[in-house]
């Protein structure tokens, strides 16, 4: 019997110690550390773009990429939060524009001091978030359609309020434009907006992973029925998530004002889809319950790197659209391959 047992013992052992192809080895390492998979995509992309144009990795260009990603990157924080609960927020971009117009008008047209206008902007953002939250958690409307509806509402309100007129930087005062203030660290050049975005990641990362509320967000996204039966007030969690998202969007609006040096409705509403793309490339599940802000950050950077790198590689605009479509697919497919339990550990 002893022999049989030894053979049986070795069955799994033998399997585990079998020789692997180099690809399998790579896969195994990546699979054991799924959080680095977006990093891999990013590094490959950066390497390729550097080959195409050696200015790509210059400190100046890297500083620029960070500034370019600040708006979408900060929106992606709010988006991650919502997606972790199994929802989706199509209204973040529209709300950002609405809030920036509110803050801009209060300073530029009504002459209020910046901090007060900012506070009112926060109020508007949070109230809009609460509106989404009530619709999703109390009336139980699907988040997709809820935020599709509020998207229309926020866009219409922003346009009706501003009548399409932008408020330029000269009228906005120092406070609202503070996010544009730049400073240098060695050869790199940052703005307060970039720092604010990074702080949003750090702060929400802490909250998500170190507090009970963060655990509840994951639990609600993972299985809302189970979360409710476990004694979590799922309604309150959802509501607070949308409210916090509204607050975070307010910060994005601040960054946006700084970047535009203006409060204007003429800002890409496409940032919605960009923020979702960042979250998904970062490995967060659209079904909720699974994902990290670190991943989202890498995802946002990846999209920005693609857009910047393709330009620097002198790819024609129409081909850029094509290339970005393909690269989204490749990035997510690679991520999926890495996560698959294909190579047995």
């Amino acid at each position: 019997m002893a022999t049989t047992n030894t053979i049986e013992l070795s069955a799994a052992e033998a399997f585990k110690t079998r020789p692997l192809t180099p690809l399998q080895r790579v896969h195994r390492v990546l699979h054991l550390h799924p959080e680095i998979s977006p990093l891999i995509v990013l590094l490959i992309a950066m390497f390729a773009f550097q080959l195409a144009n050696d200015r790509f990795l210059s400190p100046g260009n890297i500083s620029l990429i960070l500034q370019q990603v600040a708006v979408v990157g900060s929106l992606a924080v709010a988006q991650t939060l919502v997606i972790l609960t199994g929802g989706i927020d199509l209204s973040v971009g529209a709300l950002m524009i609405l809030v920036s117009m509110v803050m801009g008008s209060l300073v530029g047209l009504a002459g209020l001091p910046g901090p007060i206008a900012f506070a009112i902007g926060i109020l508007v953002g949070v109230l809009a978030g609460v509106l989404n939250g009530v619709l999703v958690s109390v009336l139980r409307l699907p988040p997709f359609i809820t935020t599709l509806g509020t998207l229309s509402i926020f866009v219409a309100l922003a346009l009706l309020m501003s009548n399409g007129v932008a408020i330029q930087g000269e009228k906005l005062g120092g406070f609202l434009l503070w996010t544009a203030a730049a400073f240098s660290v060695g050869p790199f050049n940052f703005t307060i907006g970039v720092i604010l975005m990074l702080l949003m990641y750090l702060g929400m990362g802490f909250v998500l992973h170190q507090t009970g509320w963060g655990r509840h967000v994951y639990a609600v996204g993972s299985d809302p029925v189970a979360a409710r039966l476990s004694g979590i007030n799922t309604r309150r969690v959802l509501m607070s998530v949308y409210a916090v998202a509204g607050f975070l969007v307010t910060l994005s609006a601040w960054i946006l004002i700084g970047r535009n040096n203006a409060a204007t409705t003429s800002a890409a509403v496409d940032v919605n889809l960009d923020s979702i793309t960042a979250v998904v490339i970062g490995g967060t599940s659209l079904f909720g319950g699974r994902g990290t802000l670190l991943g989202t950050f890498l995802g946002a950077i990846t999209v920005a790197v693609f857009r910047n790198g393709l330009s620097l590689a002198r790819v024609d605009v129409l081909y850029q659209t094509l290339a970005i479509g393909i690269l989204i697919l490749v990035a997510v497919a690679l991520d999926q391959w890495i996560r698959r339990a294909g190579v047995k550990g």
Partner: protein, 267 residues
């Protein structure tokens, strides 16, 4: 013993569209007692305990905990009243690990200002407590308390849910077919723990299809049939075969006699 029952339900009705799941059910649970609920599939056992623990709101009927009428709108209302439940469809978040699931909704914060001000969680302590609670149930294949619930076997998940209910139940613990997915040794261990809870003065409601188990631990047996409580018997007064006969309708229900008789026997 004229003490109030710790849990008393009267006239519970719960309908789903045309389906009548509960048709005016009464239930009494005393402190320090194990009340088994048995009945055919679809007899309304799970619906009954859902109504008792805030997972569903009954259409009609009253519930009293220790003599005070309550109206549970959601499970945490019941938690607040000291009632913990293991539901038949387990209430675990598949993407979270065992420790997080154990403490879901009542996480432990750090004692330092980090916990007070920043509300940081004390993962270390939660993991340690979770490991202790799970190990009480003797599921030996469950070693890594940071394993994600999704990767657990059916019985392992069940064990996590039971461990949670036992850890937090301060007055009443309700178990809906807790040992259905458990192995022989694990089942014995759970029954041990359940008797321990009774001896510590808690009220326990145990739903099970396993008659030997029921007759081994129950003090009284509530028999549910087609949405109604058809009888409440005691293991001394009836044999398992008789209980099954009543449950399936093969024998007539003894009527409220047992209840009465129990009450008489007590004072």
């Amino acid at each position: 013993m004229t003490a109030e029952p710790i849990l008393r339900a009267r006239g519970l009705v719960k309908t789903y569209g045309a389906v009548v799941a509960l048709d005016g059910v009464d239930l009494d649970l005393n402190a320090g007692e194990i009340l088994a609920v048995i009945g055919d599939n679809g007899a309304g056992k799970s619906t009954l305990i859902k109504c008792l623990t805030g997972a569903e709101v009954p259409d009609v009927g009253t519930i009293e905990v220790a003599g005070r009428e309550v109206s549970f709108r959601r499970p945490q209302d019941a938690h607040a009243a000291g009632i913990e439940t293991v539901y038949q469809t387990l209430s675990l978040a598949p993407d979270l690990d065992i420790a997080s699931n154990m403490f879901l909704g009542r996480e432990i914060r750090r004692r330092s200002p980090l916990g007070g001000v920043l509300r940081m969680l004390d993962y270390k302590r939660m993991r340690q407590l979770a490991a202790e609670n799970v190990s009480k149930l003797g599921v030996r294949t469950l070693q890594d308390i940071t394993q994600v619930v999704e990767t657990l076997s059916g019985g392992q998940r069940q064990a996590v849910a039971i461990a949670r209910a036992i850890a937090f139940g301060s007055r009443i613990v309700v178990l809906d077919e807790p040992t259905a997915a458990l192995g022989v040794r694990e089942t014995a261990q759970v029954l041990d723990v359940v008797t321990g809870l009774r001896d510590a003065g808690l009220g326990v409601i145990l739903i099970s299809h396993n008659m030997p188990n029921v007759f081994q631990v129950a003090d009284r047996i509530h028999i549910q049939r087609l949405g109604r409580r058809i009888a409440t018997i005691s293991p001394e007064s009836h044999s398992p075969a008789e209980a099954v006969a009543i449950m399936t309708g093969a024998a007539p229900a003894p009527g409220p006699a047992v209840d009465a008789q129990l009450k008489e026997a007590r004072p």
